[in-house]
C-alpha cells in the first residue's frame, strides 16, 4: 500500500526504459508481451486505487517528505476518484491500443511500445499529481511522447508535417503554462496546488488573473478549444490508429481536467461570486467550439479528420459543462468524458479496420467498398449513435446530467448545444456509413485533405480481419454501453464531482487535516423519457442530414441547401492552412480575447 500510488507511473516508465534498451535483441512477441503486461498492471492497480479512493482520497509524499506546518516541502500525489477514473481510462485505452498493434508496425524500426508506455505513465502522473510544476512536467512528458508517436511513420512527409504543427502549437502552450506557473510562484512562493490556493485566497488582482490566463491557455490548446484547436486535425489524420485513440480518447480531455483542477483548487476563491468571468468565458468558448467542430466534422472527407473534428466538438461540450460548473454538471462531465472516450476509441479502431482491409482513409476512395464488412459496419453505426448520445450509451447520461444541472435559459442552451453537436458529428459518421458500408448515393465531393493517405500499419495485403484488431473496437463500443449499467453510477459520479469542486476538502486532504465527513451525496434522478426522446431526435436528425448529403442529387434543387454543408465551406476550411504560424496566431487571438474578457469582467 505504502508505495502503491507511485507504481502506475514508475512501472510503465521502467518497462519503457527496459524495452528501449534491449529491444533489438528481443523477439517481437516478447516486446509486445511486456508492453501489454505493463498496461494491464496499470489497469488493475488504478482500478484498485479507484476503489480505495472512494472512501478517502489517497495522499502520497515522495520520499516521505510530509508537509511541515503549512509549508509543503515535498512533491505529492493526491488520488481522488476523478483522477483515478481518468487514470483507469488511460490504462484501458493504452492496453487496447497495444493489443491492436501487437505484431504490426514493424518494431525494429521505431520505438512504438516504449513511447506508448511513457505516454501512459505521463497521463497517469498528470491525473494524480498535486504539484503544479509536476503537472507541467507530466504535461510536457505526455506531449513529447505524443509528438514522437504522431510522427512515427517517417517514410512520408505528411505525418512529419502533422507532428510538427502539433509539436509547435502545443509547445507554445506549454510555455504559456510555465510562465503562468512562474508568476504564481513569485506571488505565493509555493508549488503545491493546495498551498498555492490557500496562500492566494480570494486574491483576484491583475497578477492572479494574468497567471490564471497563462496557465489555462496551455491547457486550452491541449484541449483543442476554438480558436486553439487547429493543430488537432492535422495530428489526428496522420497518427497511427492506436495513437489517435489515445489522443482523442483521453489526452484532449486531460487538458480540460487540468483546467478543472487548477481553477477549483488554486483559483477557486479568486473567481467565486455571482458573475464568474471564467465560467462565462467557458460557456461561450465551449458553445462555439461545439458548433464549429461539428460543422467542420461534417465538411471533411478523410475518415480520421471527420472523427478529429468531432472530438473538437465534444471537447467544446465538455468545456460548456465545466462552464455550468455545478456538481451535477461536473458529474455529467466525468461520465461524458468516459463515454466519449469509449465511443470515439471504438470509431477510431473501426477506422483502423478499414485502413487495414481497404488501405485508405478517404471517403470517396472507400465508396461502397465496405459492403462485405458486416460487423465493422455495425460497430461504425453504433459509434455514430453513441456520438449522438442515444441511450443506452453512457454519453446520454452525461448529456442528461449536464442539462439538468441548472434551470432556466442555461438548460435550454445546453440541450441545444448537445443536440446540434450530436446531429452534426453523428450525421458525419452516418454519411460515411451510408457511402462506405451501404454504397448509397454517389462518391461525393473530394478535397485535398482527403487525399492525405497513410501507409497501412501492416505490410502485406490482408483479406481477413484478425481478432486482435476487431476485439478492441468491439470492446470500446461495449464499454460505452456497459458504463451506463454500473450500479449506483449517479451517486458515485456526484461524489467524485463534489470532491473535485470541494476546495477546502482538497486542502484538508493534502494537510491530512480532519474533514467534515459525511458530505451528503444524494442521487440524480435520470429523466429516462427525456433521454430517450433526445437520443432518438438526435439520431433521426443526424440520419436525415446524412441522407440529405448522400442523396442530394435526387432532392429538388431548392431543398438542397443542407447538403452544401458538406465540403463547400471553402472560406472556413481555408483557415485550416497547415501552417503552424497561422495556428499559433489564432491561439494568440484566443488568448487576447479570453484575457480581455477576464479583465473586463473582473
Amino acid at each position: 500500500m505504502t508505495t502503491a500510488p507511485a507504481l502506475p507511473v514508475a512501472v510503465p516508465m521502467l518497462c519503457a526504459a527496459f524495452l528501449a534498451a534491449v529491444r533489438k535483441w528481443l523477439p517481437r512477441f516478447f516486446i509486445d508481451l511486456v508492453a501489454v503486461l505493463a498496461a494491464l498492471f496499470n489497469l488493475v492497480l488504478c482500478l484498485w486505487l479507484l476503489h480505495v479512493s472512494w472512501s478517502k482520497s489517497i495522499v502520497y509524499w515522495f520520499g516521505n517528505w510530509f508537509p511541515r506546518g503549512h509549508m509543503v516541502v515535498g512533491i505529492g500525489f493526491v488520488i481522488d476518484p476523478m483522477g483515478a477514473t481518468l487514470a483507469v481510462v488511460a490504462a484501458f485505452l493504452t492496453l487496447l491500443g497495444l493489443i491492436y498493434s501487437s505484431n504490426s508496425m514493424e518494431s525494429g524500426k521505431n520505438h512504438y511500445q516504449p513511447l506508448m508506455l511513457i505516454f501512459l505513465a505521463a497521463m497517469t502522473g498528470f491525473c494524480f499529481t498535486a504539484d503544479l510544476f509536476n503537472l507541467f512536467v507530466f504535461f510536457e512528458l505526455m506531449s513529447t511522447a505524443a509528438f514522437a508517436l504522431c510522427g512515427l511513420k517517417t517514410e512520408e512527409p505528411s505525418p512529419l508535417q502533422g507532428a510538427f504543427n502539433f509539436a509547435v502549437t502545443n509547445t507554445v502552450g506549454a510555455f504559456f503554462t510555465l510562465t503562468g506557473i512562474g508568476i504564481l510562484y513569485g506571488a505565493t512562493g509555493a508549488l503545491n496546488m493546495a498551498q498555492m490556493g490557500m496562500l492566494l485566497g480570494s486574491r483576484h488582482d491583475s497578477l492572479a488573473l494574468t497567471a490564471c490566463l497563462f496557465i489555462i491557455t496551455g491547457f486550452l490548446i491541449k484541449a483543442a478549444v476554438f480558436p486553439f484547436h487547429f493543430w488537432l486535425p492535422d495530428a489526428h489524420s496522420v497518427a497511427p490508429t492506436p495513437v489517435c485513440v489515445l489522443f482523442s480518447g483521453l489526452m484532449v480531455e486531460l487538458g480540460l481536467f487540468a483546467i478543472l483542477r487548477v481553477t477549483s483548487v488554486i483559483f477557486g476563491s479568486s473567481f467565486a461570486g455571482a458573475h464568474d468571468p471564467l465560467r462565462s468565458s467557458f460557456l461561450v468558448l465551449g458553445g462555439t467550439t461545439a458548433v464549429w467542430g461539428g460543422m467542420m466534422s461534417f465538411a471533411e472527407h478523410h475518415l480520421k479528420r471527420v472523427l478529429a473534428f468531432s472530438t473538437i466538438s465534444h471537447s467544446g461540450l465538455m468545456l460548456f459543462a465545466m462552464g455550468v460548473g455545478t456538481p451535477k454538471a461536473i458529474a455529467g462531465w466525468l461520465i461524458y468524458v468516459c463515454g466519449h472516450a469509449a465511443v470515439k476509441s471504438g470509431l477510431f479502431f473501426t477506422a483502423g479496420i478499414l485502413l487495414h482491409r481497404l488501405r485508405t482513409m478517404s471517403e470517396p476512395a472507400l465508396f461502397a467498398r465496405g459492403k462485405g464488412l458486416k460487423f465493422t459496419a455495425v460497430l461504425w453505426f453504433l459509434g455514430g449513435c453513441g456520438l449522438a448520445a442515444l441511450p443506452p450509451f453512457a454519453t446520454s447520461i452525461g448529456e442528461d446530467m449536464v442539462s439538468q444541472a441548472k434551470h432556466g435559459s442555461l438548460e435550454l442552451a445546453c440541450t441545444a448545444f448537445f443536440l446540434v453537436s450530436g446531429i452534426l458529428t453523428g450525421g458525419a459518421v452516418f454519411r460515411v456509413f451510408m457511402r462506405v458500408f451501404c454504397g448509397w448515393g454517389d462518391r461525393g465531393p473530394s478535397d485535398r485533405a482527403a487525399q492525405v493517405d497513410e501507409l497501412p500499419e501492416m505490410n502485406e495485403e490482408h483479406r481477413t480481419i484478425p481478432f486482435r484488431i476487431f476485439a478492441p473496437a468491439a470492446a470500446c463500443v461495449l464499454a460505452g454501453i456497459g458504463l451506463t449499467f454500473l450500479p449506483d453510477l449517479d451517486s458515485m459520479l456526484l461524489d467524485a464531482a463534489k470532491r473535485v469542486l470541494d476546495r477546502a476538502g482538497y486542502i484538508a486532504t493534502v494537510y491530512a487535516a480532519p474533514q467534515n465527513a459525511g458530505m451528503a451525496v444524494g442521487h440524480h434522478g435520470l429523466k429516462i423519457g427525456t433521454m430517450i426522446a433526445h437520443g432518438i431526435i438526435a439520431v433521426a436528425c443526424a440520419w436525415l442530414l446524412a441522407s440529405w448529403a448522400v442523396f442530394h442529387r435526387s432532392i429538388p434543387r431548392r431543398l438542397r441547401w443542407p447538403s452544401h454543408m458538406e465540403g463547400s465551406m471553402r472560406w472556413v476550411r481555408q483557415l485550416q492552412s497547415g501552417q503552424p504560424a497561422d495556428y499559433v496566431a489564432w491561439a494568440m487571438a484566443g488568448v487576447a480575447a479570453l484575457g480581455g474578457a477576464l479583465f473586463l469582467m473582473k
Binding site: 512536467v137 510522427g151 512529419l160 510538427f164 509539436a167 512562474g182 503552424p580 496566431a585
Partner: protein, 117 residues
C-alpha cells in the same frame, strides 16, 4: 532603483513577444524552431528573476552559515528541469525538420501543402 529590479521581467516579456512574433511570421521550419527556443529562454529569465534577491549569495550551504540570505534554489531547480524538458522537445523538432527536408526536399511550410482544408 524601483525600475531597476523590474528589468529582468521586462527582458522576459520582450523575449516572450519576440519568440511569438518569430513563430507567427515564420516561413522556414528551422526559423520556427529557433523562435520557439527564444520563447523558451524567456521562461528561464522569468524563473531566475522570481527567485533573485539583491545582495544574496548562491544557495550552497557548504561554507556559509544557515542564517545567510541566499537566492531561491527552487526556481533554479525548476529552470534546470525546464532546460532538460525543452532540450528534448527542440531535439525532436529538429529531427523532424531534418526528416522533412529528406522526404519533401523543402523547409518552407508554404510548399508542404498536404494538410490544407
Amino acid at each position: 532603483m524601483l525600475a531597476f529590479h523590474l528589468i529582468p521581467y521586462a527582458v522576459a516579456a520582450w523575449l516572450f513577444l519576440c519568440g511569438l512574433y518569430g513563430i507567427v511570421t515564420s516561413g522556414h521550419l528551422v526559423h520556427t524552431v529557433i523562435s520557439l527556443v527564444v520563447l523558451q529562454t524567456s521562461t528561464y529569465v522569468l524563473l531566475l528573476a522570481v527567485g533573485f534577491r539583491w545582495g544574496a549569495v548562491a544557495p550552497v550551504f557548504a561554507d556559509i552559515s544557515p542564517g545567510v540570505v541566499t537566492v531561491d534554489p527552487v526556481v533554479q531547480a525548476l529552470m534546470l528541469t525546464d532546460v532538460v524538458v525543452e532540450a528534448t522537445v527542440v531535439a525532436l523538432l529538429l529531427a523532424m525538420v531534418v526528416k522533412v527536408h529528406e522526404k519533401a526536399g523543402t523547409l518552407s511550410p508554404d510548399d508542404l501543402r498536404m494538410m490544407r482544408g
